[in-house]
């Protein structure tokens, strides 16, 4: 018969942050039943508490405290290494700030549903698991756990058509892209006979010298997996959903998903693609590196140029988010060169951490501006903000500088590491295009600053409540501190490897 597995022989302690979060979310779900509608602040606080516990454990792990052994867990389904730990920290930070941003917004909109916080935490779990999967089945399940709550969160302003439309669009296209991913996984299994990422690459070495039909299956499999993950991170040409969904979803949800979906998607992409580099000989890797390079170029150019034409803040940030996926794709592409894999993964994680604080911060400012009926987020509505609300204008300017990548902000550090990885990987063209498009992006980011400081006007802002103030404070401090003292990020990223240890 079989023995009941226990915590220790699954090495489950290594997954403690996720387990704690799952436990906390389950408790939250039940506790929320007993919390009356006019006291939903308590649900939000409980959710914050749960995230904090999990975040503390994740931080300890990332800083080198041994909680559970590093290595494989859950029968090779899960892998606990520095990469996993840092992804955990990023995902949990975005959940923490995401909850802070959400509370006032939904209070103002009179949406009193405690399930919101549970769904947000479920989604966070999905992102964490995506970074920790070493098995394609796990990646698929984790992707769904990340996405399905996001579809639902987009619909939380239900009677408003834009919110419903955004949820439906996201759901239909998301389901479609999941289909691509599953098809790709099936083909990879057909070609290699395993779901294990390491095993697939080991088998790939044989296949590359073998029969042509098997090569087709392998290439088609990887191609479809790239499509599925590319959709999730919003890379061109799979970005079509992003502007509409970002604009229609409730702003705090947009803030959260713009960061969390990227974290999960890129973590999985690095695991699937870059982890194989030590296994496979260099020249055959070019197969996917070229593909990712083309996608990165398209994403950078389209994202940045179309963002110029937007006159709505949320929509502009949606295109800016596409552009930032492009910068992250540069890091992924750099990982395709032999010997650069680890450096590329480190740069991508640094970028993601910087982006988390900056982007949620920018959306938090939008929350502070937005009226209950979704209006008040045109670029023109920002005119004169520095007179009516100087603090808000100042932090918004900081976020815009960071998104542009101006030195002294977190965004600069992220871009610097990514471009450095690209140059070390001999992808000079990609690095040059990255720098040039950053210059282009200055145009639309700085226009926001110009509107706030140099144009006359008296925009209305929402009364700021403590939790939104905290969110703005944390994100602004994060953007500044990580920008001036990048050691914290490099310290965390130190020791990140993508190779899959057993």
């Amino acid at each position: 018969m079989f023995e009941v597995p226990v915590f220790d022989d699954l090495n489950a302690w290594a997954a403690l942050p996720i387990i704690l979060l799952a436990l906390g979310t389950s408790i939250l779900l039940v506790a929320d039943l007993f919390i009356p509608e006019d006291r939903k602040r308590l649900t939000a606080s409980l959710a914050l508490g749960g995230v904090t516990v999990s975040l503390v454990v994740a931080m300890l792990q990332a800083l080198g405290v041994e909680i559970g052994e590093q290595g494989a867990a859950f029968a090779d389904m899960f892998i606990a290494d520095q990469f996993t730990y840092v992804v955990n920290v990023i995902a949990l930070s975005s959940a923490f700030i995401g909850i802070l941003v959400s509370y006032d917004y939904f209070e103002r909109a009179e949406v009193k549903r405690g399930e919101y916080y549970s769904l947000l935490l479920f989604s966070t779990m999905g992102a964490m698991l995506m970074g920790a999967s070493r098995n394609l089945v796990m990646i698929f399940v984790a992707l769904e756990l990340l996405s399905i709550p996001l579809y639902l969160l987009s619909a939380f302003r239900k009677p408003i058509a834009a919110s419903e439309e955004s949820a439906l669009k996201y759901f239909l296209l998301g389901a479609f892209s999941s289909g691509f991913l599953v098809y790709g996984i099936t083909l990879l299994y057909g070609a290699t006979g395993t779901f294990d990422i390491d095993g697939i690459w080991t088998a790939a070495v044989e296949i590359i010298d073998g029969e042509i039909s098997r090569q087709f299956t392998l290439i088609a499999g990887f191609g479809l997996v790239i499509v599925g993950l590319g959709f999730k991170v919003g890379a061109v040409p799979f970005h079509g959903w992003q502007p509409d969904v970002y604009q229609g979803a409730p702003t705090p949800v947009t803030a959260f998903m713009s960061v969390t979906a990227k974290t999960g998607g890129f973590a999985a992409m690095l695991r699937v693609l870059v982890a194989g580099i030590p296994v496979v000989v260099a020249e055959d890797i070019a197969m996917w590196q070229d593909t990712i390079q083309v996608i990165a170029l398209l994403t950078l150019v389209l994202g940045n140029f179309v963002a110029i034409m937007q006159d709505e803040l949320k929509r502009m940030l949606a295109y800016s988010s596409i552009a930032h996926a492009g910068y992250l794709l540069i890091a992924v592409a750099a990982g395709g060169t032999e010997g650069i894999g680890d450096q590329a993964a480190q740069s991508a994680l640094i970028y993601l951490l910087a982006y988390t604080f900056t982007n949620i911060g920018a959306f938090a400012v939008v929350v502070a501006m937005e009226h209950v009926d979704y209006s008040g987020t045109k670029l023109n509505d920002l005119k004169g903000l520095s007179n009516t609300n100087p603090m808000l204008a100042a932090v918004m300017a900081l976020f815009m500088f960071s998104l542009t990548g101006i030195p002294g902000t977190a965004g600069f550090v992220g871009k610097w590491f990514v471009f450095k990885a690209a140059i070390d990987a001999d992808l000079v063209l990609l690095a040059v295009v990255g720098v040039l498009t950053s210059v282009v992006s200055a145009f639309y980011y700085l226009r926001v600053v110009v509107n706030m400081y140099m144009e006359p006007g008296t925009p209305e802002t929402q009364p700021e409540t403590p939790s939104l103030r905290w969110a703005l404070g944390i994100t602004a401090a994060g953007t500044l501190i990580l920008g001036i003292l990048p050691y914290f990020m490099t310290e965390l990223a130190e020791g990140v490897t993508v190779a899959l240890i057993r």
């Binding site: 079989f2 023995e3 597995p5 022989d9 699954l10 799952a22 779900l29 859950f74 029968a75 389904m77 899960f78 549903r113 399930e115 549970s118 769904l119 479920f122 989604s123 779990m125 999905g126 698991l129 098995n135 089945v137 796990m138 399940v141 984790a142 769904e144 756990l145 399905i148 709550p149 579809y151 639902l152 619909a155 939380f156 239900k158 009677p159 949820a167 057909g190 070609a191 006979g193 029969e211 039909s213 098997r214 087709f216 299956t217």
Partner: protein, 184 residues
């Protein structure tokens, strides 16, 4: 080729699958199309049985015929306009034929050699096992029990299994939240 009962059954199920598949796209009544689709799916289930995959066959019947096709019938019956269309909805027969031909060629030249390459030996072995098993009833194929075991043993899919249960919980909660009328 020897005419065994397996061959006869295979031909029967193949005709059933393909024939009703053709009827799905050529029938002008959408309701009939779905009924043919069910027949076609049943044929596929039969093919699974012939491939010694009884679990897959059962799932095919339960999920595709039992759930999905019946759901389609509900949707069609709820939308009257679709029911009463006199002629074929789809007018792109030529394009469909080209697409089908391309897909057929792709399957023929990519997947068939692949199946020979990685599945050929397995089929051989299986055939021998089955041939020998005529008097020994316990043929070694994947049973429901083994699948269940794979979900819970420590060397199996215990983590995806658990995560899936979280996922289903999240989806269920979300569905209720989205579908619920506001009391206010």
């Amino acid at each position: 080729m020897e005419l065994t009962w397996e061959l006869v059954a295979f031909l029967g199920f193949a005709v059933m699958t393909l024939g009703s598949g053709l009827m799905v796209v050529t029938s002008s009544n959408l309701f009939h199309s779905v009924l043919f689709l069910m027949t076609s799916l049943f044929g596929v289930a039969g093919l699974f049985v012939l491939l010694v995959a009884p679990f897959l066959a059962a799932i095919q019947v339960l999920v595709y015929i039992g759930a999905i096709a019946v759901l389609m019938l509900f949707v069609i019956m709820l939308t009257r306009q679709v029911m009463s269309r006199p002629e074929l909805y789809n007018q792109q027969m030529a394009g469909a034929l080209v697409a089908a031909a391309i897909l057929f060629l792709a399957l023929l030249f990519v997947l068939t050699p692949l199946a020979d390459e990685i599945g050929g030996d397995v089929a051989q072995v299986n055939a021998e096992v089955i041939a020998e098993a005529d008097d020994a009833p316990d043929v070694d194929y994947i049973t429901v029990e083994e699948l269940g075991r794979a979900f819970v043993t420590r060397n199996g899919f215990v983590l995806p299994f658990e995560v899936t249960s979280i996922l289903l919980t999240a989806a269920m909660i979300g569905a209720i939240v989205v579908a619920r009328e506001d009391e206010a």
